[in-house]
């Protein structure tokens, strides 16, 4: 088991190295000249040339890449002489657009995205699984069709549509909530909730439908298993049969999907963050793309990739917790 974990972590690191390399190369292949982007309208060739050297952009690509990787683990210093800038570990680059190191930018945006993702995660997973169980218990009846049908409606609308709809009616038309303005929950929990509730619902509506269907399908499959019949033959209550026997057996794909969906969101819920002006990783990434801010783009891709890789490992380890046969294999 320990060997398996170590192997998975090493593969994960390898994937991240490849990911960073590809991102780095792709964005450097873009026609935008990063050195030219460092100054605004007042740019002249001398400043650009000077900045090119300060940023190390005059070096060959592989040197730039190695400097980038080195920066993550050891930090780095840009420029020389009087105009130096120290970028601390883990240094993910320097954004001239924002005149800031990238790492603090990400660290500032990350809590917003984490709150958004976790809240939405709970809000779609719990009702999704519960409604899935309910639908499976009412197979072939009107209740099942009602649940699956309304889930499909949520599923079919893109998140920007649901988000805008909620924003328009709840905030603008009915004025039930103030206009979203993100604040840390530790500073002002009420305003935090007022801001987050609509984005949470938006994301939850989009994801929930999938979990309802997944849970229902998994359960319908396990209901016909022999061990479910055994559980009933033992005289267990129907609730126990479903919770302890059927749901546990059908859990694996739900855990996989949930883990990967959560990780995907943690990398930035681009549309939802943009609609509700949440200063999260997704909004940071969109802004960076608009500004051709290569350092920020590379860093956000890497952060999102890290979440996915870590989630994959966690999900695989959870398999072993759920299914003892995996543990011994």
């Amino acid at each position: 088991m320990a060997a398996y974990v170590i192997r998975r972590i090493l593969t994960g690191i390898l994937i991240l190295i490849l990911l960073s390399l590809v991102t780095f190369l792709v964005f450097n292949a873009l026609p935008a000249d990063p050195a030219a982007l460092t100054c605004g309208k007042s740019c002249n060739p001398q400043v650009i040339a000077a900045n090119r050297i300060r940023l190390g952009l005059d070096q060959p690509l592989y040197v730039q890449y190695l400097d980038f990787i080195k920066g993550i683990f050891f930090g780095r210093t840009y420029g020389s002489g009087t105009a130096t800038f120290k970028c601390d570990i883990p240094c993910l680059g320097y954004s001239f657009r924002k005149g800031e190191a990238v790492t603090p930018l990400i660290l500032k945006a990350l809590p917003v995205t984490i709150w958004l993702s976790l809240g939405a995660f709970v809000l779609w997973l719990v009702p999704g699984v519960l409604l899935g169980i309910y639908a499976s218990r009412r197979q072939g009846r009107i209740q099942e069709r009602l649940v699956l049908g309304s889930a499909l409606v949520g599923y079919s609308f893109p998140s920007f549509f649901i988000g805008l709809l909620l924003l328009f009616f709840v905030v603008i038309r009915w004025q039930w909530l103030p206009y979203p303005n993100y604040i840390s929950p530790f500073e002002d929990p009420v305003q935090f909730l007022q801001t987050m509730i609509l984005p949470w619902i938006t994301l939850a509506l989009v994801f929930m439908a999938f979990y309802i269907r997944l849970t229902r399908n998994q359960l319908l499959e396990t209901y016909s298993e022999d061990y479910i019949r055994t559980a009933r033959a033992k005289g267990l209550r129907e609730g126990t049969v479903i919770r302890k026997h059927a749901l546990r057996a059908g859990l694996t794909p739900i855990v996989t999907a949930a883990g990967l969906d959560l990780a995907g969101l943690l990398g930035g819920a681009i549309i939802t963050e943009s609609i509700f002006s949440l200063p999260g990783v997704g909004k940071l990434a969109v802004g960076a793309v608009v500004d051709s801010d290569l350092a920020v783009i590379t860093a956000t891709v890497l952060v999102a990739g890290t979440f996915i890789v870590v989630a994959n490992i966690v999900v695989d380890l959870l398999y072993a917790v759920i299914d003892p046969r995996v543990r011994l294999a």
């Binding site: 022999d226 019949r229 055994t230 033959a233 033992k234 267990l236 026997h245 546990r248 003892p324």
Partner: protein
């Protein structure tokens, strides 16, 4: 009072292709400590019958009617809570495939304990002690260690022993064994049957043994019910059924049991397929495959459903042939097998 009495049991499923009458008019009685074998091919209704006794037909579109009285309680009309309290407590069941029948994610100790908790208020320690006691009883070596195992860590025979331990842990008076040895190695089959017989003697359990193999019931059953197409076609005591089979189908089953002690080694199979339960043949359900066809009564066999009638002491048969014709067919057919023609 009869311990278990099944009267005119009917089970039907409604499917997209029409209504399937899986069990039609099955009746039998069973006393404590006795074994009733239900023999038949796949689709004969034997498993459906047994699951009706356990009240495990909960699916929509399933209709169960008739009477199943166990200790005076009618299972067909009992409330779900009453049935739950009976399952695993007064009546228990083991299944064909012990691997598929044990939950793959739980240790066998916890699966056994769960059966105890379902019916008794006991502490964790007591439940574990019960589990150990039963594992010992069914002949599992090192039960203290095995109790921590998952089903996939046990052999097929061990798994079926665990299933038996789980079924008997609350001391039920009725045990239904649905093809308990079919998925097991031949060498293990006899051990499991032997174990069932021992435990039956100890607990005075009534057993319904469901099988397609007449060979395994030969020295285990007191009474045998032969089912075909959802109906009982012959019912008799063990001795009568083996030595005086009446129904051509029973004769066919007997001639298809491989025997080591007969010189002739010809094995006779019953031609054709079991009938489709949606579209049963008119007349005798077995008629299309019947080897005892007789021109004198053939029209009757094709058009009229025979009734189950008593032909000897506690022997019933569903056949239009008269006694002489049945006896003649059985004698010549079995002689063919024994002599290898």
């Amino acid at each position: 009072m009869t311990f278990l009495s099944v009267t005119d049991l009917q089970v039907s499923f409604s499917t997209e292709d029409g209504t399937v009458k899986a069990v039609d008019g099955v009746s039998f009685n069973l006393e404590r400590g006795k074994t009733l074998a239900i023999v038949g091919e796949s689709g004969s209704g034997k498993s459906v019958t047994s699951q009706a006794i356990m009240a495990l037909h909960t699916g929509r579109g399933t209709t169960v009617s008739g009477q199943i009285e166990l200790n005076g309680t009618d299972i067909v009309t009992a409330s779900e809570e009453k049935l739950r309290s009976m399952r695993g407590n007064e009546m228990a069941m083991i299944f064909q495939d012990p691997f598929a029948s044990l939950h793959p994610f739980y240790r066998i100790g916890s699966q056994l304990a769960e059966a105890v908790y379902a019916h008794r208020k006991v502490s964790k320690k007591e439940a574990k002690a019960e589990a150990l006691r039963m594992l010992n009883k069914v002949g599992i070596p090192n039960p203290e260690q095995r109790i921590e195992d998952y089903p996939h860590q046990l052999s097929g025979g061990m798994r079926q022993r665990v299933m038996i331990a789980m079924a008997l842990i609350n001391g039920p008076e009725l045990l239904i064994a649905d093809e308990p040895t079919t998925a097991l190695d031949v060498t293990v089959q006899a051990q499991i049957l032997e174990l069932l017989a021992e435990l039956q003697a100890e607990f005075n359990t009534a057993i319904i043994l469901i099988t397609h193999d007449l060979g395994i019931v030969a020295d285990k059953a007191d009474e045998i019910v032969v089912m075909y197409g959802g109906r009982i076609v012959e019912q008799a005591g063990l001795h009568d059924l083996f030595y005086k089979p009446q129904m051509p189908y029973t004769v066919g089953l007997l001639s298809s049991v491989p025997r080591l002690d007969s010189a002739g080694n010809r094995l006779l199979s019953i031609g054709g397929q079991p009938p489709s339960l949606i579209n049963l043949p008119t007349g005798c359900v077995f008629n299309p495959r019947c080897a005892a066809k007789n021109p004198d009564i053939a029209p009757r066999c094709e058009s009229e459903r025979p009734e189950l009638r008593e032909v000897g002491e506690n022997q019933f048969v569903r056949c239009h042939l008269d006694e002489e014709q049945r006896e003649k067919f059985a004698t010549t057919r079995l002689a063919e097998v024994l002599e290898g023609e």
